[in-house]
């Protein structure tokens, strides 16, 4: 039976090539966009390297200080002081990776300017996050204490600054006319992993803003628990600590959250200090996907109705010879699924091409989008929904056709 459906589906596709082209184009293009969008979202919510301890980590990125009576709000990253003075005292926090936002410096090579983005970090930054060291090692407490001018650089920076040299450990890199001794080279981190991507990492004791005792600053942190079970306890202890923070003059409330990774991303995209933004992200994302799918689906529904009505004689014959309405609905849905899966396969190849082009263009540095199993799974689900939604209505309409009318058409 299925073989017969397949035969007729292919024959129908071949018969009206223009319709087939429009259908396949619609399906494959929509799927390509969805698949690339899913790959981007996947990269955003599951970044991988170098943050492999997400399951036992909390992320602290933002503080809001409010005067609820006047409606004043001050919002920013946090100060180094905040982490060192308050967070480091929490008992449930096993280790904490503190890093500054990315700042840029200029280096000049053969009269050519090279912009180097750098971050200040603490020593535990290298223990919490799993950077792949291609050579050398990270700086530790000793270098931090003595504020040594040492640097860990990315592979990309090494190649841009030092060229083809095999090893650059011990050599100096000059940024904003300050020389730093390279002690380690790490594999590139995708630019999408905003908090951890950088061209150069320096000991925080070299920064000028660490003495500032205000709560607001330009740092963020990852709090690591010993086990996954520590996460709720860390969260609770963190919230209790925030409650006790001294509120600056003219303000009456402080908000600061230690979030799981996905919540922290959602809060950054759509939330604020009191709402984590997950519902908003899911709702907006869902509406976007729905609308995006609805347009080609409606198009497919129309094309399918035309296609199916063209086959009214066949429908009449099948019904006359014993096909029930249910069997015919099943046949047309299967045929439509075959069409959408062909579109899906084309879509997968197109997506691979687009992902390859995005990666090659290096628009977002070291992005390395991948078509992983999650993306493929979502694509197949999307494909299935596509086939089902756009096939059910025309099939149902067709199955209600009166046999005599169908044969006369």
């Amino acid at each position: 039976m299925l073989k017969n459906y397949f035969k007729i589906a292919i024959a129908v596709l071949k018969r009206r090539k223009f319709f087939t082209f429009i259908s396949l184009f619609g399906i494959s293009l929509t799927l390509t966009i969805l698949m690339v969008a899913t790959a981007l979202a996947d990269k955003m919510f599951n970044p991988g390297y170098p943050d492999y301890n997400q399951h036992r980590s909390l992320y602290v990125e933002r503080i809001e200080i409010k005067n609820t009576k006047e409606g004043w709000v001050n919002m920013s990253n946090l100060s180094f002081y905040f982490f060192e003075h308050y967070v480091s005292r929490l008992k449930t926090v096993y280790k904490m990776a503190i890093s500054s936002d990315q700042r840029s410096s200029n280096a000049y090579l053969n009269n050519k300017k090279l912009v180097i983005g750098y971050k200040y970090t603490n020593a535990d930054y290298w223990n919490v996050l799993s950077y792949r060291f291609l050579e050398g090692k990270p700086y530790g407490e000793r270098e931090i204490k003595s504020a040594e001018r040492v640097a860990v650089i990315s592979k990309k920076t090494k190649e841009a600054y030092f060229g083809d040299q095999k090893s650059v450990i011990g050599q100096y890199i000059s940024a904003d006319n300050i020389n730093y001794r390279v002690i380690g080279v790490v594999d590139n981190v995708s630019g999408a992993v905003r908090n951890f991507a950088g061209d150069m990492y320096l000991p925080y004791t070299l920064a000028k803003d660490i003495k500032d005792t205000r709560l607001m600053g330009s740092y963020n942190a990852v709090l690591l628990g010993r086990t996954e079970n520590d996460v709720p306890r860390m969260k609770k202890e963190f919230a209790q600590m925030v409650e006790k923070l001294p509120v600056p003059p003219d303000f009456n409330k402080i908000y600061c959250n230690a979030d799981e990774f996905k919540t922290s991303v959602a809060r950054r995209i759509a939330g604020d200090s009191t709402s984590n933004g997950i519902t908003k992200v899911i709702t907006v994302g869902g509406i976007f996907v729905l609308l995006f799918l609805l347009l080609p689906t409606m198009n497919l529904v129309n094309i399918n109705i035309t296609r199916i009505m063209e086959r009214s004689s066949e429908i009449g014959v099948r019904k006359a010879f014993g096909a029930s309405s249910k069997t015919l609905v099943y046949q047309f849905i299967v045929e439509n699924l075959i069409l959408t899966f062909i579109g899906g396969i084309i879509g997968v190849f197109l997506s691979l091409l687009v992902i390859y082009l995005i990666n090659e263009s290096d628009y977002i540095s070291s992005f390395n989008l991948t078509m992983n199993l999650t993306v493929l799974f979502f694509s197949l689900i999307t494909c299935f929904c596509f086939g089902l939604i756009s096939g059910v209505y025309p099939a149902w309409r067709m199955s209600k056709l009166n046999i005599v009318k169908a044969l006369k058409a």
Binding site: M1, K3, V317, K319, A320, G322, A323, S324, T327, V404
Partner: protein, 222 residues
């Protein structure tokens, strides 16, 4: 009795007009009978045939086929009943041009519990009966009108139905081809005992059948 029609009426209604297509037809057709229906265009021949074939519902009246009252049948049961008991031959063949001859003929068997191998064998056998065993892999568009109608006959008989309903089966064919098709139907009736009801405009074809029913303006006149 193989087919029993009692006081059948068919009315077509539009917003402004009501047309009585069949008006109180009573007809009994015995098992193994070859009956032809004649009458001028628009007199309700095809409508009557469609009602007998359960392709259309009467507005009034009772139908019994093989002593079964089909009015209470669900869509699924009706489809199954058609598949088991009835075979159709249409004037314009109604073959599926996208499928090869063999696939066209096996179509009624798709809706039964039979294996692909079994289906192919039965379809090939039916095509052999109509003298087309050398055209299995052809597409309908590659055949002449007479050959297409023979494929349609093969499709109608492949499921071994007790009744064949033929709506002007020779209407689109020249007389030689028409005679050929008629001979196949006569042999089928004689050898297999299949009950055949045929609508025709051709008096000479009708004379070859056991009984002739004439319609005029939806009523039986003979």
């Amino acid at each position: 009795m193989m087919i029993r029609l009692k006081n059948i009426e068919k009315v077509y209604r539009t917003a402004t007009v009501e047309t009585l297509a069949i008006n109180g037809i009573n007809l009994d057709i015995a098992k193994g009978e070859f009956l032809s229906i004649m009458g001028p265009s628009g007199c309700g021949k095809s409508t009557l045939l469609n009602i007998m074939g359960l392709l259309d519902e009467p507005s009034k009246g009772d139908i019994k086929i093989d002593d079964q009252d089909i009015r209470s049948f669900s869509d699924k049961k009706l489809a199954h009943f058609r598949n088991e008991k009835l075979g159709f031959i249409f004037q314009s063949y109604h073959l599926i041009n996208d499928l090869q001859v063999l696939d066209n003929v096996e179509l009624p068997l798709l809706y039964r519990d039979s294996s692909a191998k079994e289906r192919k064998a039965l379809a090939a056998e039916a095509l052999e009966k109509v003298g087309l065993s050398n055209r299995l892999k052809h597409f309908p568009t590659q055949l002449s009108g007479g050959q297409r109608q023979r494929v349609a006959i093969a499709r109608a008989i492949v499921g071994r139905p007790q009744i064949i309903l033929a709506d002007e089966p020779t209407g689109n064919l020249d007389s030689a081809m028409g005679n050929e098709i008629m001979n196949i139907l006569i042999n089928l009736n004689k050898n297999e005992g299949t009950t055949i009801v045929m609508v025709t405009h051709d008096e000479s074809m009708a004379q070859k059948t056991h009984r002739l029913v004439r319609l005029f303006d939806g009523s039986q006149v003979q």
